[in-house]
Amino acid sequence: MDTFETLRQIIVDKYERDVSSITPESNLRALDFDSLNAFEIIFELEEKFDINVPTQIVPLDTLQDVVNLIDKTRSEQGK
């Protein structure tokens, strides 16, 4: 399953955002997401991919940063 597509679907479903506004370059702040929203999105991705993202995470600015974090974790945890 493609990480970005999954992420985009979560944002559309959970936050009711317009799908056309969501690109890998989209900035989390520009999408009006705070750090708590970012944690919620990561939680949803952990559920979807059955992974455990480390508690301490790197700063996330764009959706691509989120995708990179998830892909790295998926690869490390073989999921």
Partner: protein, 407 residues
């Protein structure tokens, strides 16, 4: 001393989601007690409750916001918005440092906690939602109300079981009386019809048995055949306002809060005491400057348990005599625990507003130990109701009493 009046009412209840619908249903003896329709009903011994069935969170909150608010908080927020709208206050024109929130709840965000336990211990999940903590903390609802209205005055959450919201309203009235705020949103909310909470109540063996002929009539306060309380859910939030502040803007005034009593039984964790209840009523009457027999209506705690109803009867008789009309509206809206005091105070305010007294439903068999005028089975319209008292007596022994009058 500054005077405190009620200028707005918001309510979500098993018998109506605005004060007028709520009161008409009480007057007509309409019960909100019904079969509990949940995915865990089959696992319960007691399958009845006074649930709020016509509440759609998505009509009030965006999808993501709704999922981050416990049902208790959802009720509290909607009742608060309703109360503010009803008051006609434009909070943007107010100094919001002079506006505060005092909120009461017994079990707080128990739905979220229950779901979290199920997820961890039943489903063996190893993580919880990042907002689980913020959704379940006991001050979640109070905090969300503050945020919803950008209020910057005093805010506090009171947790004294069944008297929580009575305490919140009483304490809020003092905040205004002593000049620390001009407007207070005060009341409470409870949504504990969860598997874990209902099992805990079952264990205590105080829940009413379902009436085999009429489920809606299962709660029978003061009746010889009463078998216990029926759990309910809902919220009521009132706008309390300093009298001159309310008068200056031409606000509609439901009534003035003239007395509040609060004391501890210090006797037993569940069993009520005549002495404690008498003291709480006397404290409120002393502050109000009236005698017990001068009251026009008393909304009793009236849970429908064998013990509560006879103890409360003895206490009322000692303080007010035997002639003041007393009713238990729990017979219709059930026991809303931490929210019950606020909901029942709304019944009192509406009794003054409509000059009518709601009945005690399902009182068919008289109990020699319960011998007051309980307004049995039929409400009284066109009667004088200028002074009212609302009793709340809690597990843990915090007794709280409010007295209000018309202006």
């Amino acid at each position: 001393m500054r005077r405190v009046v009620v200028t707005g009412i918001g309510i979500i209840s098993p018998v109506g989601n605005n004060p007028y619908e709520f009161f008409i249903n009480l007057m007509t003896g309409t019960s909100g007690i019904r079969q509990l329709e949940t995915d865990f009903s089959a696992l319960l011994q007691v399958k009845i409750a006074a649930s709020v069935n016509d509440f759609n969170p998505l009509a009030h909150f965006p999808k993501n916001k709704a999922s981050n608010l416990d049902r208790t908080t959802q009720f509290a927020l909607v009742a608060s918005r309703q109360g503010i709208a009803d008051s006609g206050l434009d909070l943007y024109k107010e100094d919001r440092a002079r506006v505060g929130v005092y909120f009461g709840t017994g079990m707080g965000s128990i739905s979220t906690i229950d779901q979290g336990y199920a997820r961890l211990y039943r489903n063996n999940a190893d993580r919880l939602n990042p907002v689980a903590l913020l959704t379940s903390m006991n001050n979640a609802a109070g905090s969300q109300i503050v945020l919803d209205f950008a209020i910057t005055g005093p805010s506090m959450t009171f947790c004294t079981a069944c008297s929580s919201s009575t305490v919140a309203i009483g304490e809020a009235s003092r905040v205004i009386r002593y000049g620390h705020a001009d407007v207070m949103l005060a009341g409470g909310s409870e949504a504990m019809l969860t598997y874990g909470a209902m099992k805990a109540w079952e264990g205590l063996r105080t829940l009413a048995l379902a009436d085999p002929e009429n489920l809606a009539a299962s709660c029978k306060p003061f009746s010889l055949d009463r078998s216990g309380l029926v759990l309910g859910e809902g919220a009521a939030m009132l706008v309390l306002e300093e009298y001159e502040h309310a008068k200056a803007r031409g606000a509609h005034i439901y009534g003035e809060i003239i007395g509040y009593g609060n004391c501890s039984d210090s006797a037993h964790i569940t069993q009520p005491s005549v002495e404690g209840q008498v003291r709480a009523m006397r404290l409120a009457l002393k502050e109000a400057g009236i005698a017990g027999h001068e009251l026009d209506y008393i909304n009793a705690h009236g849970t429908g348990t064998q013990l509560n109803d006879k103890i409360e009867t003895a206490a009322i008789k000692q303080v007010c005599g035997a002639t003041v009309p007393v009713s238990s509206t729990k017979s219709m809206h059930g026991h809303l625990m931490g929210a019950s005091g606020a909901v029942e105070f709304v019944a009192c305010l509406m009794a003054m507003e409509k000059q009518a007294i709601p009945p005690t439903a399902n009182l068919k068999k008289s109990d020699p130990e319960c011998d007051l005028d309980y307004v049995p089975n039929k409400g009284r319209a066109n009667v004088r109701v200028n002074t009212v008292m609302s009793n709340s007596f809690a597990f843990g022994g915090t007794s709280a009493v409010l007295i209000a009058r018309t202006l």
